[in-house]
Symmetry: C3
Subunit: 270 residues, 3 copies
């Protein structure tokens, strides 16, 4: 059904997030909690951060989407991720998994793989090395930042999508969003995004917010990456360095207009 | 004693914080640790963040005020909150409780209620749904952000204050600060404050700093909310979105002058 | 060998960090994780934050330097710090210990002392009261922020350096970097640096990045403090308060030029 995206729905998706302010439950890493909460608020969603086993199921029951991000993983949190995943699945809300650093250590790779199996995420969003690690169990990474998309990555994303039956969203110079035989490429973005920690995690959080109000998770994932890239371009025109870039980026998420999307978006649907 | 506030003491309170740089111990949530530490430094206080059971009593013994904030709660932290609360009580320093998300899950509501009973906070500072949950054990919330004050909220705050015998400070479009039969309303603020994560937690931290150097906890709580609102108004005049708003807000906390308070403050004492 | 620093190597050190983007593993505190990750990215390094016992050894094996920072300590994290320290030692990469708050509580002082004994850090970087606590087991501190260097501090740094056989870097109005009989003083900096949380932790992270690509840990530690001070001076010329200062500071870390160093650096080698 490639026609789904013939008329892009980015602006409609933003308007729905702003109108409905969906509650997004984040079980995420310490480094980005503040940033992703602010990004969700900026785009119009309502963030909650919680991780206690005693409450994640109740929180998931209140939420419209769940983010599971393993960036600063420890054993106790895995149980909460599993519990919240199960509750979210039963409720039928989208689950977005960010396998941060998968491939870098056995602990992360195995946890990410277990989360894919047990939580049945709707969308997996990561960088190329993280996505490849879920297919090939590769044990190599250069940190948790960056890695460019390539044909090899596209193949890995397609295999992963087929294996677990959901959407795979790979960030990089070109973003790839894959589901079944369909592929969307986003060519927006700015080089400064690789110099700010947690931009990938922010992409994951926005993906969840968009999926909360969009029945097509493929479209939601693509729309979120387009907004990331466009906000990055707007920010890149005004900043003096990575810290002011981050401020401008979050401000742009808040003030982004239909015209920004119309004039800037570079989305290719294959 | 309604005359206490006939001549507002906001500026004197700021000056005392700047002069004495009181040490404020924060057992608080991961999302706002950085922000509230910076807000405390900006206003002139000395923040410490610590949560280990092995040290919270010693830290409380060094501190001039204690913040207990349950925003990203887990079981191990509750013990530390209880221990620190007891040590603070024995020392006679103010304890400010922020029941973040109380009402959203049973775990938070019950923990908040247990902290009220066992730690005997001097001041409880929350939004309307959190405050109501401590009176009515309501099980409903829309996330941890926002909720407007109302007559129902005022009543809940009065009941809560009477029940536990301390000050209740409710943030909202109009802030309500209640103790016994007395009510103070703060009409300052800016709509952008609801688009930045942790503004409530910052209000709690500032309340603790003000209470550290002010024998009247009612006055301290009102003064802190006035400073929050005034700094928010100053920031709102200069910002392009929520991220630049937060920067301007923290800068305003640092540079706020007597004239800003004189010209802007809207405090009603009932 | 005082000639090591006759021709300062600050600019060369920055260029090597930018060229090699060394992976720096941070087992650090919740308050500064975001800030120090961004500071490492700004200066050109690759940060990883991880703390699980299951993975810190593997992460250390991938890294080019290790930061151990006890700012928000708890028991489970100490084991990970010890494990990572041992792995880093076996691999021969630099370990930089930041004994945040040592001297404030017995738990921190004893943990910091145990880490010095068991992990054999290459560099200990702290403020004056923290450094003195490792020599004198002093039990006093005014929070975790600031304290000025003095002759007493220099003596403590020299004793500590002799005792554990590594570099001691003390931040303050004048920074002192000591190893064996050698002392370097850095006179750069800006008063606003004491009004932003985590500037000391950022200094520690940059010290690790510089040590990752510099065989002289004394020089690396001095170069990092010089860059901190110079970026602080650049930021201080443009900021309206502590929050905008922090943004300008991080931007300056990213954009610092050879001429900034040549014109501003005040390094005294004794």
């Amino acid at each position: 059904m490639p026609e789904i995206l013939e008329k892009p729905t980015v602006w409609q998706n933003i308007q729905r997030v702003r109108a409905e302010a969906p509650l997004v439950l984040n079980i995420t890493n310490y480094v980005v909690m503040n940033t992703t909460a602010n990004a969700l608020l900026a785009v119009g969603a309502s963030p909650v951060m919680a991780h206690a086993q005693e409450e994640v199921e109740e929180m998931a029951a209140l939420a419209k989407a769940l983010v599971i991000n393993i960036g600063t993983l420890s054993a106790a949190w895995i149980d909460s991720m599993m519990k919240a995943g199960l509750a979210a699945r039963q409720k039928g809300i989208p689950i977005v998994l960010d396998p941060v650093g998968s491939g870098a250590t056995r602990f992360r790779t195995e946890t990410a793989q277990a989360l894919v199996l047990n939580s049945a995420p709707s969308i997996i969003r990561g960088n190329a090395s993280e996505i490849r690690s879920l297919v090939l169990a590769e044990q190599s990474t250069k940190g948790v930042e960056s890695v460019h998309a390539s044909e090899e990555t596209l193949e890995a994303a397609q295999v992963l999508s087929a294996n677990f039956g959901g959407v795979v969203s790979v960030s990089g110079r070109t973003d790839l969003i894959v589901e079944g035989g369909r592929t969307i490429r986003i060519l927006n973005g700015h080089q400064m995004m690789s110099r700010v920690t947690g931009m990938g995690c922010t992409a994951t959080a926005l993906t969840a917010a968009f999926a909360a109000v969009n029945p097509s998770y493929l479209t939601a994932a693509a729309n979120a990456m387009a907004v990331m890239g466009i906000a990055g371009e707007i920010a890149g025109e005004h900043c003096a360095g990575p810290a002011s870039f981050e401020i401008c980026f979050l401000d742009a998420l808040y003030s982004i207009q239909e015209a920004d999307i119309a004039h800037r978006m570079k989305m290719e649907i294959v």
